[in-house]
C-alpha cells in the first residue's frame, strides 16, 4: 500500500537538492562542500525511488544502486584531494586554494 503521494516525496527531494546546492555554493570548507554534495545526491535518489515505487518498476532502484556507488567513489577521491590540499596549503579553505600547480 502506498498512502503518501509521490508529489510529497518529489517536493522533499527538491528541498534537499536546493539545500545541498546552497551549501556547495556558499561554504568555504571543502569537507562541508563534499557533505552538501552528498545531500544533493540523496535528494536525487529519493526522487528516483519515489517514481520507481509509483510505477512499480524496480529499474529505478537499480539506478539508485549505481548512483550510490558513484557517490562513494566521489567521496573517496574528494577526501583524498582534501588531504592532499591540507598537506599543501595547511587548510581546506577553498578560497585560499587558488593555485592548482606546485
Amino acid at each position: 500500500m502506498m498512502d503518501v503521494p509521490v508529489s510529497w516525496y518529489v517536493i522533499l527531494a527538491l528541498i534537499l537538492f536546493g539545500i545541498g546546492t546552497v551549501g556547495v555554493l556558499t561554504r568555504r570548507n571543502l569537507l562541508v562542500v563534499l557533505m552538501s554534495l552528498e545531500i544533493m545526491l540523496n535528494g536525487v535518489n529519493l526522487a528516483l525511488l519515489a517514481f520507481a515505487r509509483h510505477h512499480g518498476d524496480a529499474q529505478g532502484q537499480a539506478a539508485v544502486f549505481i548512483v550510490m556507488a558513484v557517490a562513494a567513489a566521489e567521496v573517496a577521491v574528494g577526501l583524498a584531494l582534501a588531504i592532499a590540499l591540507f598537506r599543501h596549503d595547511g587548510s581546506v579553505d577553498l578560497d585560499r586554494a587558488t593555485r592548482m600547480k606546485g
Binding site: 503521494p5 545541498g20 552528498e38 509509483h54 529499474q59 567513489a73 583524498a80 588531504i83
Partner: protein
C-alpha cells in the same frame, strides 16, 4: 492522516533539519558537527526508502552512507586536525549570492511546476500495486545483472579506479608511506 503520512512527516522534518544543520552555521562551522547532522539526514532518508518499499536500497543507504561514507568523513576530519581559525564559515561574494538567488528562484519555480505537473501523482491510489518482494535483493539484483549488467560492471571498475586514485592522491610526495 494515515500512519504512513505521520511517519513521512517525521522523517521529512528530521532529514531537512539535518541538511540545514550541515549547510548553515553555527552547526556546520565545525565539520564534525556537520558530519553528525549529515548522519541524521542519511538515517531519515533510509526510513523514507523503507516507506517506498525500497528495502535493499534502504539497507545499502545505512551501510554505505551512514556507515562507510560517514566513517570516511569523520576519519578525515580528525586526521586533518583543523585548528580553530581554520573552521571557516561562509564567504558570500557577489557571484555566490547570484548563484544562491538563482538556485532558490529555480527551486521555487520547479516546485510550482512540479505541483502542477505532479497532480497526476497526487492520488496514492494511482500508484502501482507491487508484490511483497518489491525492492528486495532478488528483484533489484535481477535488473542489475540483466538490463543493467554493463553499468553494473562499469561501477566495479569505477570503484577500483577510485581506490587507486585516492591512494595516489593522498600519498605523501616525499616518498614516505601514506
Amino acid at each position: 492522516m494515515t500512519a504512513q503520512m505521520v511517519v513521512f512527516w517525521i522523517l521529512a522534518v528530521t532529514s531537512v533539519a539535518g541538511a540545514l544543520a550541515v549547510v548553515l552555521p553555527p552547526f556546520g562551522r565545525n565539520p564534525l558537527h556537520a558530519a553528525v547532522a549529515l548522519l541524521i539526514t542519511f538515517t531519515s532518508l533510509a526510513g523514507l526508502m523503507v516507506l517506498l518499499s525500497a528495502h535493499l536500497v534502504a539497507a545499502l543507504q545505512v551501510l554505505v552512507y551512514a556507515g562507510a561514507v560517514m566513517v570516511l568523513f569523520t576519519f578525515v576530519v580528525m586526521l586533518l586536525n583543523l585548528r580553530r581559525q581554520d573552521l571557516t564559515g561562509y564567504r558570500i561574494t557577489a557571484w555566490k549570492a547570484v548563484g544562491v538567488a538563482a538556485m532558490i528562484a529555480l527551486s521555487v519555480k520547479m516546485g510550482i511546476a512540479l505541483t502542477a505537473g505532479l497532480s497526476a501523482f497526487d492520488d496514492p491510489a494511482t500508484a502501482a500495486q507491487v508484490a511483497n518482494d518489491f525492492g528486495g535483493v532478488k528483484a533489484v539484483g535481477r535488473d542489475l545483472l540483466t538490463t543493467y549488467l554493463v553499468p553494473f560492471e562499469a561501477t566495479s571498475l569505477l570503484l577500483l579506479v577510485a581506490i587507486v586514485g585516492a591512494v595516489i592522491v593522498a600519498r605523501r610526495r616525499d616518498g614516505g608511506a601514506a
